[in-house]
Amino acid sequence: MRLLQRALRRSTLPLAYSQGYNPRLRLNLALPLPLGVTANREYGELYLSEKIDPAQLISSLSAQLPAGLELLGVFEVSAESSSLAALVAAACYRAKLVDAKEKSLAVVQIERAVSKLMAAEELLMPRSGKKKKQISDINIRPYIFELRLDSGLRAVPEVVMLLKAGSDGGVSPFYLLQLLDACEPDCGSEARQWSVERESLYLISNGALIPLTEGA
């Protein structure tokens, strides 16, 4: 984020700043990445102080981006439309097992754990309320839209999770992985190490989840 802000400031774009003593760039990401999760693409929205051609934005900003970071697309939206952050409803993550020793065994165990979780009607997650002392449990089962083992021909077990996300609550992919591990307490003494990547974001449209793509 800092990197992006600095690149924007270096560009000669007509940036808009927030009001106040400590003006900030008006740049928001659709859904900030949870700590420890990688992603190969991010969505965000940027406010400008004047209208410019999207192609110009691409060229000015791209010139300021370090190698390895690419601006994939720019779309103009009206300032009145609701923010990306408000639209995001779910995120799809792919978790890979790091350093798996007995891969075949892990696949079986994870498969079992996945079906166990999906079969459950209620999965309670303790959540600290606004006032620190209150702790309430929330049922996160409805937050899991999809959970499956996707190892296929790949030797390393991979789990795909489509989880509720966004401004009105969500669940961290790491919490689910913890639950998965907890399902089989006696398998593997050490906690499993996962590397998690966010694959895509989803919006809700007419009650259905649709992937957020360039141009949507």
């Binding site: 600095r6 690149a7 924007l8 400031r9 700043y17 003593y21 400590n22 003006p23 370090p66």
Partner: protein, 592 residues
């Protein structure tokens, strides 16, 4: 520039971002496209080194020359060192990933004494013999610069050459001369002889220290051509000196993550304990036109949202309020805020601070250093009690919510009463603020220990003995404990003691450094790494009594190990200042 071994190594360390380089504005040149390759070594972590403006200035000034390249290397953290040693992977420069041995010059920036063990460690990790005499023609030349090169004796046997004073102009010229001499086929020794006649160049191996009855008694020159005294280099005109407008912008958070324009160099205040005030003389200003132009370029080329107008005492810049106005105009609409570090404690500074912060009023920082007017007179910090009250009440009226105040203990002529006065001052300030109706003013009090430094008027003074330092710290701890509205912190006495040992050390401390390093000393300036017991072992092993260095008081006639290194201030001037300090009458200052 990451190969597969390095990739495995980086996967196992905590902050790989420290070692990968490739930041915005970093400069990658082909090694075979230039005539001479240098690596700038900073003996502390990346985050610390990348906050140092000197590093950025030299990086810019050397890389500007098409015949030269300069890369960077920082001290690897403990986890990285472990990995490097385990894999037998040599310490490498960030830009090209090449080992330090592949460079012609390794130049260390010597900012503080407590980084010395890291210097040895970095050489060793690079596979370079630590002693100058063990190195041959196929090793890089090891050079040093920065404030500590004004008394580099404890490091002398490890270095081939020191460059005294400001290097942004002198270093590229030195490197160019090395190119010519290498083309002429000079040996290492011949090269050093040749270079030793340049201004600011100190080749320690040409000077043999003499001792009589256990004390340093002077130098004997081993080579006729070597000068008797070495005069520092300094930049005559800041406006025409190179200054980076496109410094490297780190990806990882560093200590000072912002754009910096140096508005002037040197300090006219002349506080008697302060080495910087003397070695950076004379005071030179950058013109406001140049400052604004530089600031504009810096923001455009880095994307920072903060610009710091730096110097040793920024409110002393003539017309600084006008400068800020013009800067505001020049950067309007860019969402950039300005900051002014190192403010003098007076009402003018408060006005300036108010102008800059415009509503974001948290904590203002000042360094009164001593709490009684008498002691402030002794150390040459000329602020009266009345001024302090005036400035701080003005700040409170303007809406500031707290103060951070720096003090020093162990200053020459200091008594317990002077130390207790720090507590009194806080208490009375609080009373005053309460009468103003402000009940919740926060105080952050930070206490350092006086370290006598070479080239300052207090260079002859002893450091207060460690037990007395600890006793005075206890005194403060006891009192501040009962004042929960004060956040109180102090420097570790052992660390300051060690700093004092090296600040006025001689060449006999070199084997001690080696021993301490072998015993595992690293990052001695970091409390989590500092182990005094290891140092004690090293002192014992070499039969050195550290108190002979830290707590010794010298007479004017005593030869000092840094007498031959000239910072531009005559010894007589220091003597005069020293005498003045002790002519301050003993009674309390007027307002007590």
């Amino acid at each position: 520039m990451v190969d597969s071994t390095l990739e495995t190594i980086l996967n196992k360390v905590q902050k790989p971002g420290r070692y990968v380089g490739n930041e915005w504005n970093s400069c990658l040149k082909e090694h075979d496209q230039v005539q001479l390759r240098m690596v700038l070594a900073f003996p502390d972590l990346y985050e610390v080194g990348m906050s140092n403006q000197g590093i950025k200035i030299l990086y810019d000034s050397v890389n500007k020359d098409v015949d030269l390249l300069i890369e960077r290397v920082f001290a690897p953290a403990a986890d990285m060192e472990e990995q490097l040693r385990q894999e037998g992977y040599p310490l490498f420069a960030l830009e090209s990933g090449k080992p330090l041995n592949a460079f012609d010059i390794v130049g260390f920036s010597l900012q503080y004494e407590l980084s010395y063990t890291n210097v040895l460690n970095m050489l060793d990790l690079a596979g370079i013999p630590i002693y100058s005499k063990q190195r041959g023609d196929n090793h890089p030349l090891i050079i040093g610069g920065g404030p500590c090169s004004f008394n580099p004796e404890p490091l002398a046997p490890f270095f081939d050459l020191f460059l005294l004073g400001e290097a942004e102009e002198a270093l590229p010229l030195l490197l160019k001369e090395i190119i010519i001499n290498k083309q002429n086929g000079l040996t290492r020794e011949e090269l050093l002889v040749q270079l030793s006649s340049r201004q600011g160049v100190y080749v320690p191996s040409f000077y043999n220290p003499l001792y009589s009855s256990g004390r340093f008694s002077g130098f004997e020159k081993l080579i006729e051509q070597a000068p008797d005294a070495i005069e520092k280099n300094y930049v005559a005109d800041l406006d025409s000196a190179p200054y980076p407008t496109a410094p490297v912008v780190p990806y990882i958070q560093t200590a000072h993550d912002r754009a910096v324009v140096e508005i002037f160099r040197g300090c006219s205040r002349g506080c008697r304990f302060c080495q910087a005030g003397y070695i950076f003389k004379p005071v030179r200003r950058r013109s406001s036109e140049k400052i604004i132009e530089t600031a504009r370029d810096l923001i455009a080329l880095t994307g920072y949202d903060e610009i710091s107008l730096s110097s040793l005492s920024s409110s002393d810049y003539p017309g600084v309020d006008e400068l800020i106005n013009r800067l505001d105009e020049a950067l309007a609409g860019k969402g950039v805020r300005c900051s002014l570090p190192s403010l003098r404690l007076d009402s003018y500074a408060v006005t300036l601070a108010e102008k800059l912060h415009q509503g974001r009023r948290s904590t203002l920082t000042f360094a009164p250093e001593a709490a009684t007017e008498r002691l402030r007179k002794v150390i040459g910090k000329r602020i009266s009690e009345a001024e302090i009250y005036q400035a701080l009440t003005a700040a409170v009226t303007a809406g500031w919510q707290g103060f951070k105040l720096y003090f020093m203990i162990g200053l020459p002529t200091e008594e317990d009463a002077d130390v207790e006065a720090i507590v009194e001052l806080c208490r009375e300030l609080r009373q005053t603020f309460r009468r103003q109706g402000r009940h919740n003013i926060r105080f952050v009090i930070s206490i350092a220990t006086f370290v006598p430094k070479a080239h300052s008027p207090f260079q002859w003074e002893p450091q207060l003995s460690m037990p007395s330092v600890i006793r005075r710290q206890q005194l403060l701890i006891e009192k501040f404990r009962k004042m929960p509205w004060v956040e109180f912190s102090w420097h570790d006495a052992e660390t300051s003691f060690l700093e004092a040992v090296f600040a006025r050390g001689d060449r006999r401390l070199a084997p001690l450094l080696e021993k301490a390093w072998q015993l595992g000393c690293r990052f001695d300036g970091w409390s989590e790494h500092f182990s005094y017991s290891r140092w004690q072992k090293a002192f014992e092993a070499l039969g050195i009594n550290p108190e002979d260095y830290a707590n010794r008081s010298y007479s004017y006639a005593d030869p000092l190990p840094w007498d031959h290194l000239h910072c531009g201030v005559e010894k007589e001037a220091l003597v005069k200042e020293h005498r003045l300090a002790f002519s301050v009458p003993a009674e309390q200052g007027s307002e007590g």
